[in-house]
Symmetry: C2
Subunit: 103 residues, 2 copies
């Protein structure tokens, strides 16, 4: 056999990519909050102690481009933006649940 696992010859694994999409200072926490309900930019800034605009903006953009969160413009007043957990994001939840049991 040429390979014994799901990793390719470049040394990349799907799981590594996913790991990367969720790593960083704020992304895990944003993911966790989004799992409880839609999150918003300014609210995150207040909820996540020590966080700054720039980092939150970058984290949201990356979670969105990784298709873990979805950006939704809510046409109510006040007009605002919500980030929702995508289907892919939801599919990660049981995995994390399992991880939590492994100390």
């Amino acid at each position: 056999m040429t390979t014994t696992n799901a990793c390719n010859t470049d040394g990349n694994c799907p799981a590594e990519g996913l790991l990367k999409q969720l790593s960083g200072k704020w992304k895990p926490q944003i993911f966790r909050l989004a799992a409880e309900g839609p999150v918003r930019f300014n609210a995150l800034l207040r909820q996540l102690e020590g966080a700054n605009k720039q980092s939150i903006a970058v984290a949201l953009r990356e979670l969105e481009s990784g298709e873990i969160l979805e950006k939704v413009v809510v046409r109510e007043k006040p007009l605002h933006i919500e980030y929702h957990l995508s289907e892919k994001g939801k599919s990660l939840l049981p995995v994390f649940k399992t991880l939590e049991t492994l100390l």
Copy 2:
């Protein structure tokens, strides 16, 4: 109820800690190689293109302190050191297997 998930009020999750223990430039790859069999310092240096001593040393130390790898002195000639996947490390494998199916 006071909380709906396994996270505490400090904003820390067990899963986040685990994520952190496996994140970084080399740790995921070392973990993956260790899943196939014992790994060694100099061998990793050759296997992981672009890696340097320092980073490998740090990564191994952190994986060891996170109890994902175990350091084993092999009293054969030449005397050398092997890093083995621990029980905790092994328990992560099926989780990663699952992650790989989630794109």
